[in-house]
């Protein structure tokens, strides 16, 4: 050990080993073994768990698709917000920061239940539409017979839940990169003839990509593996990988070996995605900073 204070990292290393490395190894072991006497026991080596994966292609596809859409929406909302925040004065920054962080201080279940109450078929939003006569109007115009918009238990609701919960993770890294940009680079670009739009496209945007990359990672990864949002907002119709895995460990389909295999495959795909993105980022330099 070069540094005399290295032992200070000891507690963390121990913690890491116990709660990260050992569990991951267990997941790998379970994924490649069959059940023993009971489902929780470890039997002989097998690839069966992986060959059964084909059944769940739809769920894999849906998970990645919804997470991708949620990430994209977060990026489209979050980048402009982060940009404006970084360019405005400190007063605006403080207020905006509090507003962004505020939902995160409210219990996760509570705020998701609140969304359910809003989106239910007889929920707040539909009652509001009813009250202003929107459904009567539509029924009159198109000869339909609807009394509510189906919002809860749709993919849209799941994406909304993801965006609502993970948006701060997109805004904050982008904001912190943009605010640290050297203002003289902007002046240099102006000096060399770039208009405001040109400065953004040629300087600010490429230099803020590291923030975008980490924002995308921090939204995509929890989105792709969420199970609470999909269960509460998507009901049984919009089962995601998280729910599938949950079923294998806690649900009726109890099979930790299959659950581990699914988790392992998901992990590998996510890591591969991140690796590809970081490669792409390095071309633009500076991604290493993260």
């Amino acid at each position: 050990m070069k540094n005399k204070l290295s032992w200070l990292a000891g507690p963390y290393v121990l913690w890491m080993t116990l709660v990260v490395i050992v569990p991951i190894l267990l997941v790998v072991v379970y994924a490649f073994t069959a059940s023993g006497e009971t489902a929780a026991d470890i039997g002989g080596f097998t690839l069966d768990n992986f060959s059964r994966m084909g059944t769940y292609t739809v769920i894999f596809a849906r998970s990645f698709q919804l997470a991708l859409v949620a990430t994209l929406v977060c990026l489209l909302i979050g980048y402009p917000l982060a940009y404006v925040m970084a360019k405005e004065g400190p007063g605006f920054q403080r207020v905006a920061m509090v507003i962004i962080m505020l939902p995160m201080w409210v219990n996760f279940l509570l705020r998701t239940y609140a969304w359910m109450a809003i989106l239910e078929n007889n929920g707040i939003l539909n009652n509001f539409f009813e009250a202003i006569g929107l459904f009567d109007l539509i029924n009159g115009l198109f000869g339909t017979d609807i009394s509510f918009f189906p919002m809860i238990r749709t993919q849209g609701a799941v994406v909304l839940g993801m965006v609502y919960n993970y948006l701060p993770f997109m805004v904050l890294p982008i904001y912190s990169v943009i605010i640290k940009l050297d203002h003289s680079l902007v002046e240099a670009a102006r000096d060399l003839g770039a208009s405001s739009a040109g400065v953004f496209r040629r300087v600010t945007l490429p230099l803020s990509l590291p923030g975008v990359l980490s924002g995308v990672t921090m939204v995509f990864v929890p989105s792709v593996s969420t199970f609470a949002i999909s269960r509460m907002m998507g009901g049984n119709n919009q089962m995601l990988l998280g729910n599938l895995i949950e079923q294998q460990f806690l649900g009726g389909a109890y099979n930790p070996h299959l659950g581990s295999a699914i988790a392992l495959v998901m992990m590998i795909i996510v890591v591969a995605c991140m690796w590809i993105m970081n490669r792409f980022g390095e071309g633009e330099e500076q991604a290493v900073i993260l």
């Binding site: 003289s184 680079l185 300087v203």
Partner: protein, 391 residues
């Protein structure tokens, strides 16, 4: 010289009521190498930023080629800037940094259409610039792989490739070591002369200013103290501030007894200055190298040596005359505590009117501390006046 290109008329600049530029009047000729020289916070960088378009004067006008340009933004001015810390784009390589300005579509004045330069022309012009700044073969390098001097050259090439009429340089050599700085001074002067472009150069290094400029503008406290050729500024400083800031000076209280006669320490000296009121109190500048050391009995003044420092070419000798300490630069070694006499030729004496700076400079009692200060100043590139206008 040639025709006037830029004029600042009664320019005043205030940030939050604090005046950093006070009624500046200045014109700059085409193809001139003009230096704004002064200590930290004197307003020189603000002046440069007004010309570059990064700041609009609180009052007063800026003219370029006779056209008022107060509110023309930087990207529409025929002026490019080399920034203090270069401000190179870290996400682009050397070639793309230099090509940055060329890749931006320009509006054709006749057709009013935006035109892009052909790739071949961009390539040729960038390569030509790399040649000018001696960086051939570096085009694929990343900015982070360059030394300070190389980054400096890229910054200059990136500005010059746009063929500006005027190049603004904000302490461009501040971050380089002494040897490299000297080389770059020559290099800049060569580039300026070979391309025939007006250079406006900001520095706090008086030696740099004297060595490179056609015209030096000495500034302090937001005001122009003196404008002139390097020789004028050195030989005929207007006040005690200029005399002290440019080179070393002994500045003494004197009384002008008649044209060509000034009295110092109750002794009359011949000088070349005239046009003062009879018995007018004045500041007298005597450069350390204009003093001849003679045996004590032949001296116009007699004093005691208090310290001697070997400087290579000469000795810095501090001599106490009647309680006032002078700096004399001489090749003759005089030991400490020896008694000497001095003689000063009439052209070694320069008489100035009294000013707000009288009595503040030119005494070498605290000689060593002063050298420490100078040493500190060159360590760190100067932090400028603070306020920058945000977009």
């Amino acid at each position: 010289m040639s025709k006037e290109l830029i004029r600042l008329a009664n320019c005043t600049m205030a940030f939050d009521g604090e005046v950093v530029l006070d009624n500046i009047n200045l014109y700059i000729n085409d193809k001139e190498f003009l230096t704004l020289l002064g200590p930290s916070g004197c307003g020189k960088t603000t002046t440069l930023r007004i010309i570059g378009g990064f700041q609009e004067p609180t009052s007063g006008d800026v003219f370029f080629d006779g056209v008022r340009i107060n509110s023309i933004p930087p990207h529409k001015r025929a002026v490019n800037t080399v920034f203090q810390r270069y401000a190179l784009f870290p996400h682009l390589n050397v070639f793309e940094n230099i090509a940055f300005g060329l890749r931006i579509p320009k509006v054709d004045p006749e057709t009013k259409q935006k035109v892009k330069l052909p790739e071949q022309e961009i390539h040729d012009r960038v390569m030509e610039m790399l040649q000018v700044v001696n960086l051939k073969g570096f085009e694929k390098r990343r900015i982070t792989q360059l030394s300070g001097g190389q980054q400096q050259r890229v910054a200059i090439a990136r500005a010059l490739v746009n063929r500006p009429k005027v190049l603004l340089l904000d302490e461009p050599l501040g971050a380089l070591d002494l040897k490299l700085r000297k080389d770059m001074q020559n290099e800049l002067k060569r580039i300026q002369q070979s391309l025939g472009i007006t250079f406006i150069y900001v520095t706090h290094d008086q030696e740099e200013a004297l060595a490179m400029s056609d015209t030096v503008v000495v500034m302090d406290g937001g005001k122009i103290q003196q404008i002139g050729t390097p020789e004028d500024i050195y030989n005929e400083p207007k006040n005690a501030f200029v005399a002290d800031f440019i080179g070393e000076s002994n500045i003494l209280d004197g009384i002008m007894r008649a044209d060509g006669v000034v009295e110092i320490f109750n002794r009359k000296f011949q000088c070349l200055d005239k046009g003062f009121l009879p018995d007018e109190p004045v500041d007298v500048v005597i450069r350390p190298e204009d003093v001849d050391i003679v045996p004590e009995d032949q001296g116009q003044l007699k004093g005691t040596v208090t310290s001697v420092t070997f400087k290579g070419v000469h000795y810095d000798t501090i001599v106490d005359f009647y309680g006032f300490k002078w700096l004399i630069q001489t090749t003759d070694f005089c030991p400490v505590d020896s008694r000497i006499g001095i003689k000063i030729d009439p052209d070694g004496i320069h008489v100035m009117k009294k000013s707000q700076y009288s009595g503040m400079f030119g005494d070498y009692s605290s000689y060593s501390e002063e050298y420490d200060e100078i040493g500190d100043a060159t360590l760190e590139p100067e932090e400028e006046e603070g306020e920058r206008d945000e977009e």
